[in-house]
């Protein structure tokens, strides 16, 4: 099958095979199918399970009825005998007298069978022939009446299955719609600051092989001119856990229902469900933990007085940590790392080595309140004679600001803010002194600075 069409695009070394557009279309179609399947499941569950129950509980009108007789209704489906309680009642609506076999709305609709015979018999014990009781009839069609109303708990759980399909499908389709027609560079600056991509033509830039400045970086700050983007947003992890938990638990629920409705209780299958259930609970717990972490730890904002940075120069950095936390400690580091990738065959080896690190801020034992976030402004100096930001296909020198913290009852968190550091300008050559404007236009593709910085480092060094 793989020879006739390829669902996903393949990457071979630095080269991709197949059409990216077609591969994207296949993926989008796959997610669209998931979404439609989920919608169909939703509609079926609503139409045949929830809506009838809801209508019988809300719209049906009460009227007195006489119980004539009771019986255990049976049917055989796929070689299995199923049971339901059935009560024959007589009631009057207007001038007309109605007589029918009924119990709840599912019985009236021809369903309501289960393998549990004892449950059906217990239900029938509540009804005695000749007694007068209340029945509820459909005002739109008085021939439909029930003696029991209310919701079955598991019908709501059934909704989880189509819901997980809808979430996965909608997420996948939205992702592809968002990506559609956008260049790799544009995607990198819009939603993937991690992929600080190189210019397609290194010769065209003033600083070849220095990662480009994402347009996100040009977001103006509130305290200092530039707000740095954070790598890997927590909401993505949150959505990931949610999708995983819904999908897994939905599947387990479907299996559990199959066991519940099967005629013979299968012990081995039920035992198999126990570890599945445990995994499901773990996923749900992981989601709730991530949710708590995301909401409690709050947003980390880092702003900087100038961008990109230049070796040997000083800058102001502003850190704001929101949330509602009792902090054990919080620190902000500036780091320079090397990353080398060795790829051969099935083995990809990536090694990172930190070459330089400086702690800019470290505070211990303090509280962060919703109304009073933690704020601090510090000066940093990029040492001269350090290596500038550099990126080639297998080797990278990267600069980052890392904010790490530990709060009571929470795991240690770390948020990374990418920096771009340019080399120190040479004092000898006229051509190598660069102004802020030339840096902006050559490396950021002509994007305008949010603010002409008044900082002393902004002009020719």
């Amino acid at each position: 099958m793989a020879r006739w069409f390829r669902l996903f695009e393949k990457k071979r070394g630095n080269r991709r095979t197949g059409s990216e557009r077609i591969a994207g279309l296949w993926e989008a179609a796959f997610f669209a199918c998931l979404f439609l399947l989920g919608c169909l499941g939703f509609w079926l569950a609503l139409r045949f399970l929830l809506l009838p129950e809801w209508r019988s509980g809300r719209d049906f009108l009460p009227v007195a009825c006489k119980v004539l007789e009771t019986r255990l209704g049976t049917t055989v489906r796929e070689g299995q005998t199923l049971y339901r309680p059935e009560v024959c009642i007589e009631y009057r609506v207007g001038e007309r007298v109605y007589r029918l076999w009924t119990y709840d709305i599912h019985t009236v609709r021809g369903n309501g069978y289960s393998v549990d015979r004892q449950h059906a018999e217990r239900c029938l014990k509540n009804y005695r022939a000749g007694e007068t009781r209340t029945t509820w009839y459909d005002p739109a069609n008085p021939e439909i009446a029930v003696v029991e109303r209310g919701f079955r708990w598991w019908t709501w759980l059934v909704l989880l299955i189509p819901f997980s399909f809808v979430v996965l499908g909608a997420g996948g389709v939205s992702y592809h719609v968002w990506r559609w027609g956008k260049s790799v560079e544009r995607l990198a600056v819009q939603g993937k600051p991690l992929a600080l991509s190189l210019s397609a033509n290194p010769e065209a830039t003033l600083f070849p092989f220095v990662p480009e400045i994402p347009s996100g970086i040009q977001q103006p700050g509130e305290h200092l001119p530039y707000r740095l983007p954070v790598l890997g947003t927590p909401s993505r992890a949150l959505l990931g856990w949610l999708a995983a938990a819904l999908f897994w638990n939905g599947s387990v629920l479907a299996l559990a229902l199959a066991v519940y409705y099967s005629e013979k209780f299968d012990w081995s299958f039920s035992l198999f469900l126990i570890p599945c259930l445990m995994i499901g609970l773990t996923l749900a717990a992981a989601f709730f933990r991530q949710w708590m972490v995301t909401t409690a730890i709050g947003q980390t904002i880092v702003e900087i007085s100038d961008f990109p940075l230049i070796c040997g120069q000083r800058y102001r950095v502003y850190l704001k940590q929101t949330g509602w936390l009792k902090m054990n400690w919080l620190e902000m580091l500036i780091v320079c790392e090397e990353e080398a990738t060795f790829q051969h065959g099935t083995n990809t080896r990536r090694e990172t080595r930190r070459v330089w690190q400086k702690t800019l801020v470290r505070h211990e034992k303090f509280d962060i309140l919703h109304s009073v976030p933690f704020e601090i402004e510090k000066e940093i100096e990029i040492p001269s004679a350090m290596m500038h930001s550099f990126r080639s296909p297998h080797n990278e020198v990267r600069w980052r600001l890392c904010v790490r913290g530990s709060a009571q009852d929470w795991p240690v968190f770390e948020r990374i803010f990418p920096l771009v550091v340019l080399p120190e300008p040479s004092k000898k050559s006229e051509t190598v002194s660069w102004s802020r404007r030339s840096v902006q236009t050559t490396t950021a593709g002509g994007g305008a600075s949010p603010e002409e910085s008044g900082h002393e480092n902004a002009e020719t060094a």
């Binding site: 070849p208 990738t341 060795f342 790829q343 330089w356 550099f390 297998h394 080797n395 340019l422």
Partner: protein
Amino acid sequence: MEPRIVIHLDHRKTVYDPGEILSGKVIITPADCVDVIKAIELSILWYTDGKGDQDLHVHHFRRWSQEGDSLVPISSPLCFQTILPQTPLSYDGLIIRVRWCVRVRVFPVKGREIVEEIIFRLGHVAPAKVRIQ
């Protein structure tokens, strides 16, 4: 007789500033071996070295060939000149190195090609050493 390659950088410089002009000449000896050379290639390039796969980028390239219009005038020195870029600078990291060099490749009419290169530094980046402050 097998040709020999000698690369000379003007002013005997080994360290250049970004944006500076790098110039020099290539001398192929002996001078009477013109008949045995098919082509000469000169590249000014950088490459990485270390624990990652090697990346390479040619900044300046020139080819002198016996075929076509650009005959190899190897009796006189082959001069070259280029403006060096701002980045990447030469770097001695812990697991990554960035090296700049002038590489000359001579393709004889018969036999294997001969390669000679001369390393130079671009910029003044200090060697990396782990520093945690």
